[in-house]
Amino acid sequence: MGAGSPPSISPGEESHKLWWWIALAAIVLAVLKPVAPDWLVRPPVWLVWPLADWINAVFTFMRDDLGLMHVTRAFADGVQWLLDVTANLLYGKRRWPRLEDPIPWTVIAATAFMVGYALRGWALGILSGGTFIWVALLGQWKWAMETLSVIIVAAPIAVLFGLVLGVLAWRSSRFELVLDPVLNLTQSLPHFAYMIPVVVFIGVGPKAGAIVTIIFAMPPMIRMSLLGLKKVSPEIIESGQMCGATSWQLLRYARIPSARNDILVGVNQVIMQSLAMVVLASFIGMPGLGQKLLQLLQALKMGRSVEIGITIVLLAVVLDRCSKAWAERQPEHFEKGTPWHQRNKLLLVWAVLVVGLWTLAEFWPLAQEIKRTQAFTISKQLDVILDGFIRLVDPVTLAIRAFLIRDVLIPMRDAYLWLPFTAVLAFVAAVGWRIGGRRSALTVSAFVLFIAMSGWWDRAMITAYMVSFAVLLAALVGLPLGIWAAGNERRAKVGLLICDTAQTFPSFIYLIPVVMLFGVNDVAAIGAVVVFAMVPLARYTIEGLRGVPETLIEAADMSGANKRQTLWKVRLPMALPTMMVGINQSIMFSLFMVIIAAFIGTQDLGQEMQRALSSTDVGKGLVLGMCVAFMGLAADHLAMRWAADKRRALGID
């Protein structure tokens, strides 16, 4: 079947046979492994290209000969200046603007409350104000401000660059054509792959943390602005043209404001990505909550880790809710003749609060800053509770751990490693052919071939085994949970709320409970991946099942189907394409998480990535990153292709 011809669920007779033959070849290759020549089992030397060296050569050339270093350094200096300003305001760094003291915590908490209140009323106000009070009371103020001072600088820059690139992509379809695959790749590169080049060009510390955050957070902004600009209704544009707007005026006054909601959804994503990255940037010396959490986790100080974990989660929820509320806000008019102080009531209240609290802070030091010695902590109590709990479940977790490692993980890993790479390649090609014909087969085998050529085959197989096991486990738990939650309206609502909230947490957070339960090892890593991967699975299952048209279900009821039959014969098949999106996301999430989890001890690509990071080996880091990205992209290609065909066959969308 050709690329353009409408694909079919059952490919033509010819190709139907072909995918069988390829699958058969895979089986034969696997079975004959003991007698197969070496070059069929592992990529032969001539196939492994020194990609890392080439990349390093290019980077050295760019840095030294092209003088790109000066450009990046200049940009980094600008960012540094901004960081100094925000750091100074938030936690006092004795630079410009020279304040006697940083902004009192009470003022910031009050501001957070007012922002939340203005956006969505009391509940959000109390949540965001309360979060900052919690942070201050627990003596985490400085770390939280270190983290926030970077987000405050990085997120707007990412938004600005993303918007500009989005506009450019919208203006020039050729640019869009180039940008699209780049965005696909960048959105599937694991976090660490971004850090290594930044370390090379910028160094370590807050500056590097900010810049890596900017780069990492930009792609969704580009996507959303492009999408928003494309979606603006043609009549709005035409009416703008008929009003005599020039093309710049059209963009500035009609297109961008009309795309406001999508652009602000982009801003929301930028903020959430920034938070995730800033926390992880502790690996390249970014101080703040992430670094503290990393240290505490490695020292197995559970109570304190949980405290910080709660803070990060609260911050994530506050940032997410506030930016979403902002995106969803619709303009409201004031009655005619409303006086100025009425129109700006909230602003005035805020100003009064700021002045009042600032004055208070002058006289009462606790309103200015709560020192760590004065802080209140629940880590002792937490430790006791957690200790008790862990002692209670320890026999169980120990047994699970032993069983998993001995009877499942190690045999599974060995099996993956045992497979000849040619068998894997053929198997992937067969699946590709079955799902999307020749084109898909070529695409996915090209991705896998790259991994073979990178020289990291064994590591990649370990990553693949962890991801496939984790996704399988996540599906075993997540799908039934999702189906159960979709059972009625209320459960579905709660379920979606939980999933959406859980999705805003930076991935790092998921490591806390599993390290607590399982210690620092493979099982913990897999546990974290399973929990993280379960969220999108459950979410899209609920969404898919709830999205089945009511009329279909009524028709099934009228045909005398019972609940079980309706579920299996009507709802699940209809929901399958949407659920596939969840499976796809879950694979992506797992890949990211497996890489992050490397620092609690795995032997996959992630561990090598960490090594590349500590030896600032750009080439190696990028090659490893691309291996991860290509695994993700191959899975993504197959899942999306399958879901699209299924949708078409079902006549959805």
């Binding site: 209704s233 009549e235 709005i236 035409e238 009416s239 703008g240 043209q241 008929m242 009003c243 005599g244 707007a245 020039t246 005026q249 006054y253 009609a254 404001p257 009309s258 406001r260 619709q330 303009p331 409201e332 008019h333 004031f334 009655e335 005619k336």
Partner: protein
Amino acid sequence: MSNPVISCREVWKLYGPDPTTYLNGLNGHDPGFDVLREAGYISAVRNVSLDIHQGEMLVIMGLSGSGKSTLVRCLSRLVDISGGGIEVEGADLTALSEAELIELRRNKMGMVFQSFGLLPHRTVLDNVAFPLEMRGQDKHARRARAMEMIELVGLQGREEYFPRELSGGQQQRVGIARSLAIEPDIWFLDEPFSALDPLIRREMQDEFLRLQDLLGKTIVFITHDFDEALRLADRIAIMKDGAIEQCDKPGNIVMNPATEYVAKFTENIDKARVVHARDLMAPVSSTVPDVVAISAGATVHDLARRLVDDLSPQLPVSDDDGAVVGVLNRDTALNVLLGSA
């Protein structure tokens, strides 16, 4: 008659791979919609020649996809035509530079859209002032002018509202006010009332007629609704597959359809409400019957009672000044009234 305000000569708009080359190959010959489609081209506007005069209200009608919107968008150059020529007040529209086109739109043309096309983030006032803002008028002047327009369409008191907070009819009033803010000479309206429910639509039509009486602009108006067309039109153009089948006075369209398609199109119309005495009258012959004259502007429907009651075979028809200008044959008129014409 004065020079036309808008004059189209053999205007074409083709959608397809390479319209200009293909059109040149045709040498002005029109092979018809189906042949063009075989060749891979959608002829949205096909060989349209049309003059629109100062102060005239031309209504364009036709089925969905017949090219009405595209024709109007050609006239305002929201789309570039593939062949032919359009002159606006004597200037070649297709030859205008970007800047000249913007000037033209800033000073001469206004357009109202079916789904309003309001900017969602701007208040009513700012929406209406938008074209003035685009041409750089200072804030005070443009607000004053916008307020005038808002009052003209009866939205005073709502100027601080956002489009979202208005009903459909009110939103369309904003669209009308906006299109009038620059005092355009030429006014395009693309199905301005079809998104509105019947009651509001009626109200908006009255409003529109009032405005037209007040302003006397040259208008091109698209509608699907024959009643609407009859209420408003000086002339009606009926389009099919991109071409204009007939363009004439409403009465003529109904009484003398040029093609079978037009005849079918007008088949279900209550002709008595459309046809005026003037459309049916014959020249004054030797003797004018000595009865009270009827007005040339009256529809047959208006005359129904008189036609039934008055048995004289011919009735005198007088114009607005009371002068007798013709005679109406009673049988002819009754045929129209009874639908057997």
